[in-house]
């Protein structure tokens, strides 16, 4: 972690030229790995929906495709219902749900075809049988969480994605199969406390970078750290994660009306890093960084990166970042390759391994200053990558067109 200084300037013992060359080689190799992973994921197999239709249309002996709908037929060849696949944006990417509806307009079956969510979130959705809640409901029902469908606490985005996918499929079947009108999907812009807090934190970080007084800068920084930890961490569980980066690179961009926070966070970080060449997030309001810093303040833990291990530790951290993103891109599973213990801490939910990682990091945080940020977090290398890329482009521009700069 580079403490808010220029993102390109890593604390290396190597001479500047050698470090620069090494950083650029790393950027090229990482870039090529990610492009390769992206292409692999793009051409990898897609879900074949047709064989799965009888699972949501019980009694269907055969299935034909008519006008984009799957029509289930009984033994005599009469239609017994329709099926369609809908898609809704979850936390890490689109969730596809296959919905079966009988000829009277009642949902008779649902099946999750594909999802990209973090296992921790999606386990809650399946354990609480969310897809089952839609079964036996007429197509004219609202089919909304918190309305006629029970919301899933702790996995709101994933549950919203499932509900949205079901409504999309229902709308298609109602219009094309049943000739019934279903109210259109509302597209309201979602602005609330997290979005406003985020903008204020960006503004505070921007001002903080420019403050000359060390004391005021420290105070402001503690203010942003605590606000970030409480609001973005414990209240909303919305920190930046490597899953969000992989989602961005996969092209699974969510609808901005309902995911404005996602755009503000990702866009804000990229914008400030490119324009200002500063990391606006890690040092200023990362909720997990703030939590580790609070532990360090209590225990008096100091920064520790021994000279002989510095290079190795930097490469390990970069390797973890590239591996997480490349794996997510190649398998098109952004949610499955995130490993940060943020959700485990702020939502108190996670697998045994996630809890073990969190406890290890918490114990280490009492001895070393921000150990997760300094040795493991994949986000610092990602933000460095953007900043170094910006510096490289700027330098090339200056060399090539000196008169224009």
């Amino acid at each position: 972690m580079n403490h808010g200084s220029s993102v390109a300037a890593l604390a290396h013992p190597l001479p500047r030229q050698k470090r620069l060359r090494q950083d650029r080689t790393w950027m090229l190799v990482a870039g090529m790995t990610l492009v390769g992973a992206w292409l692999f994921g793009f051409f990898a197999g897609h879900t074949d929906v047709l064989p799965q239709v009888p699972e949501v249309l019980p009694g269907a002996v055969s299935v034909v495709v008519d006008n984009g709908l799957f029509v289930g037929l009984d033994a005599a060849g009469y239609p017994i219902g329709y099926a369609a696949a809908g898609e809704g944006q979850g936390y890490a990417g689109p969730i596809e749900v296959l919905v079966g509806i009988d000829t009277t307009g009642t949902i008779v079956g649902t099946k999750i075809l594909s999802q990209k969510e973090s296992p921790g979130f999606f386990r809650l959705v399946t354990r609480q049988s969310l897809p089952e809640q839609f079964v036996a409901r007429p197509v004219t029902d609202p089919l909304r969480l918190g309305d006629d469908i029970d919301a899933i606490s702790g996995a709101t985005a994933s549950a919203e994605g499932v509900a949205l996918a079901v409504r999309q499929a229902v709308r298609q079947i109602a219009a094309e199969g049943l000739d019934t009108t279903v109210p259109p999907e509302e597209s309201k812009i979602k602005v609330g406390l997290p979005e406003i807090t985020l903008l204020l934190l960006f503004a505070a970080g921007y001002i903080g970078h420019r403050l000359r007084s060390g004391r005021w800068k420290r105070r402001l920084r503690w203010g942003t750290l605590i606000t970030g930890m409480v609001v973005l961490g414990f209240v909303y569980t919305a920190p930046l994660t490597v899953t969000m980066v992989t989602t961005l690179l996969s092209g699974y961009w969510p609808d901005w009306h309902s995911h404005l926070y996602w755009y503000l966070l990702m866009g804000g970080i990229v914008f400030v890093t490119v324009v200002d060449s500063k990391n606006p997030y890690c040092y200023w309001f990362c909720p997990f960084g703030a939590f580790q810093e609070c532990l360090a303040a209590v225990s008096g833990a100091k920064h520790y990166k021994p000279r002989r291990l510095r290079q190795t530790l930097t490469w390990v951290q970069r390797g973890l970042a590239v591996a997480a993103i490349a794996l997510g891109l190649a398998l098109r599973q952004p949610g499955a390759t995130g490993f940060e213990p943020f959700g485990t801490l702020f939502d108190l939910r996670g697998s045994v391994y996630e809890w073990a990682l969190l406890i290890t990091v918490v114990v280490a945080s009492l001895l070393i200053y921000r150990p997760f940020c300094n040795y493991l977090c994949p986000l610092d290398p990602v933000i460095n990558f953007v900043g170094s890329g910006r510096s490289w482009i700027e330098e090339t521009w200056r060399k090539r067109w000196p008169q224009r700069t």
Partner: protein, 102 residues
């Protein structure tokens, strides 16, 4: 000096151990996540089973029920009655309106 070096060495070893443990846990988190995705993809759908009436089961159950009733009450089953004849008549009145509710 030597003591300081030993302490520094121990700290570096502890740090290395911390990083290795964390990497092992991260590997397990990835494996767990990817296995979950595989299982989730293979999970069956939810559906409402259409009611299917098996006629023979219905009749058997009815026959059993009748037999049981006869055994405990001594009432003969309808088949045991002799054929009967009957005559009847009836008268009815009614009112109507032009309102209808469709």
């Amino acid at each position: 000096m030597e003591k300081e070096m030993a302490s520094e060495d121990l700290k570096a070893r502890l740090l290395t151990a911390f990083v290795i443990i964390c990497i092992a846990l991260i590997g397990l988190i990835w494996a767990d996540g990817l296995l979950f995705q595989q299982d989730a993809a293979a999970a069956p759908g939810y559906y409402r089973q259409a009611p299917e009436v098996d006629g023979s089961v219905y009749l058997t159950l009815t026959a059993e029920a009748v037999e049981f009733r006869q055994r405990i009450t001594g009432t003969p089953t309808p088949q045991e009655h002799g054929a009967g004849q009957g005559q009847g008549s009836g008268v009815g009145t009614g009112t109507g309106s032009l309102d209808h509710d469709d």
